[in-house]
């Protein structure tokens, strides 16, 4: 316990930065992921091709490499300076967007075509088909896997430790300088992640149960 209470300042800062990376990354990921997801199911072949190419390229790249390019490569491009946290958020956001895209795409695909066809046959307009039939169901089947993607984003934030951002993954290096036991620190870090992930997956499970659609 002393490892925590003697160094409350560092832990607070680290937890705060982890949350900043998580929320920043998640916002970019959800926004870009939605754009790409819509592109992947759109009826414009060029847009579909771009979406597919992006997802295939990024998903076959290690996140560490994306960090590497942003943190070491970006500054030598002579563009406006960004601090490490901003670069890390961009890297996480661009990378995690592919997760969101895939979640959305498989969510859209769970709705049987027959339902939309039936709605059309009843004379509903495109807006009504979307608003009354497709989106309510798509939303329900998308949110639980979306939480999985968020959990993945939370775990991604640790990689920023290797790229000069003080977050939970990096407290070990800082506390070692203060002479703390590295194993103890790391076990606490692991515990924090287990707790955060447990909270998120509990939320996920209850939503899943509540919104399950029996087909």
């Amino acid at each position: 316990m002393n490892i925590i209470f003697d160094n409350l300042d560092l832990w607070g800062l680290a937890l705060w930065n982890t949350l900043v990376l998580f929320i920043g990354g998640a916002v970019i990921a959800v926004f870009l992921g939605t754009v790409l997801g819509v592109m992947r199911v759109s009826s414009v072949p060029a847009a579909r091709a771009i979406g597919t190419a992006y997802v295939n390229l990024v998903r076959n790249t290690p996140l560490t490499l994306v960090f590497f390019i942003f943190v070491f490569g970006y500054p030598s491009l002579g563009l406006p300076r960004l601090d490490y946290t901003a670069l890390a958020i961009t890297a996480i956001g661009l990378y995690a967007a592919t997760y969101v895209t895939e979640v959305l795409r498989s969510g859209f695909n769970t709705i049987p075509v027959g339902q939309a066809e039936a709605a059309r046959a009843l004379g509903m307009t495109f807006g009504q088909v979307m608003g009354h039939v497709v989106l309510p169901q798509a939303f329900r089947s998308v949110v639980p896997p979306l939480i999985s993607a968020l959990i993945a984003i939370l775990k991604m934030t640790t990689i920023a430790a290797g790229f000069s951002v003080l977050e939970l993954g990096a407290v070990r290096a800082n506390l070692s300088e203060r002479g703390e036991n590295a194993l103890g620190v790391l076990l606490w870090v692991a515990l924090v992640f287990v707790l955060l992930v447990a909270i998120m997956s509990l939320a996920q499970r209850s939503l899943e149960k509540k919104w399950k659609i029996i087909r």
Binding site: N56, P62, A149, I159, A161, A182, L183, S201
Partner: protein, 290 residues
């Protein structure tokens, strides 16, 4: 393409789609062009930035680093399959306590970020006197423990997806539990899950890159080393391009195998009984906790 969102486009929609296609292509080309322009302006394509890659010794080092990445991947892949299998068997035990215990272990291992596992191995264990840990062992252990936990869930889902009637029939003709598992359930489950398992191998390969952070001398580490050598005017972007393309090619190769297996599986009549749930087929558990 027929989905919920669109039916066959009429003349107006065709014109609109064409316009949207042009906009999308222009935007993408604009972004790529801007990046290429900035790279060119800051002299990233200049001869002295690339000179370091004209030495055979550098390529020998790149080859050696690729081998180190691949050896961590190879061992990680084998161990993660073994660990995943063990955890899945424990999880499917008939004894509720053993089953719950293994479920708990699996969940906890999946919740800890791989990098934190690596750090526990590399920085944590020496504190309690285990000084034998090298970056290599740390990378392999962390990667295989994490992916093992993910694969355990994949195996279990695969076994669950085999229709109940099959195991009931096997019990009815007098098979024991081991035989039911070994002869009836597992062959079908593994066949059905093979694409997902190979997709998880891509994750193993990608996760070995985390070794960079704990000074395992894999490809990225070498990229940083070469990229920051001041005598060659710090070619960090050329190094990132070279090292990055090797990583991406390796991953694409593996992902191609997964895709090939998936296509072959779909056309195989033997696999028709076992239908994993939709999100498993899309590879979601391979990338996140479910």
């Amino acid at each position: 393409m027929s989905n919920v969102f669109s039916d066959l486009p009429g003349p107006k929609a065709v014109a609109r789609n064409r316009f949207l296609a042009i906009v999308a292509v222009v935007v993408v080309l604009g972004v790529l062009g801007f990046i290429a322009y900035r790279l060119a302006v800051t002299g990233q394509f200049s001869e002295q930035k690339w000179r370091v890659f004209s030495y055979p010794q550098v390529w020998e080092q790149i080859g050696a680093a690729t081998l180190r990445t691949l050896s961590a991947f190879g061992l990680g892949a084998v161990f993660s399959l073994g660990i995943g299998f063990g955890l899945a068997l424990g999880r499917m035990s008939d004894n509720p306590w053993i089953s719950r215990c293994f479920a708990f272990i699996t969940e906890v291992l999946r919740a800890i970020p791989v990098l934190v596992l690596m750090m526990i191995m590399y920085y944590g264990l020496p504190v309690v006197g285990q000084t034998w840990v090298t970056p290599f062992t740390a990378v392999v252990t962390a990667v295989s423990v994490y992916s093992g936990a993910v694969l355990a869930e994949v195996f279990r889902t695969g076994v669950d997806a085999v229709p109940r009637g099959q195991s009931e029939a096997a019990y009815a003709i007098g098979f024991r539990k081991t035989a039911v598992m070994r002869l009836v359930l597992l062959p079908q489950a593994i066949r059905a899950m093979l694409p997902v398992i190979v997709a998880q191998m891509v994750v193993v390969l990608k996760d070995t890159a985390l070794g960079f952070v704990i000074t395992y001398q894999e490809l990225l580490y070498l990229g940083k080393l070469v990229g920051s050598s001041a005598s060659y005017s710090s070619p960090i972007i050329p190094a990132a391009l070279v090292v990055g393309s090797i990583y991406i090619c390796l991953c694409l190769l593996l992902a191609g195998v997964a895709k090939y297996l998936e296509v072959r599986l779909k056309s195989n009549p033997k696999s028709k009984d076992v239908k994993p749930s939709a999100d498993l087929a899309s590879g979601l558990p391979a990338l996140a906790i479910k």
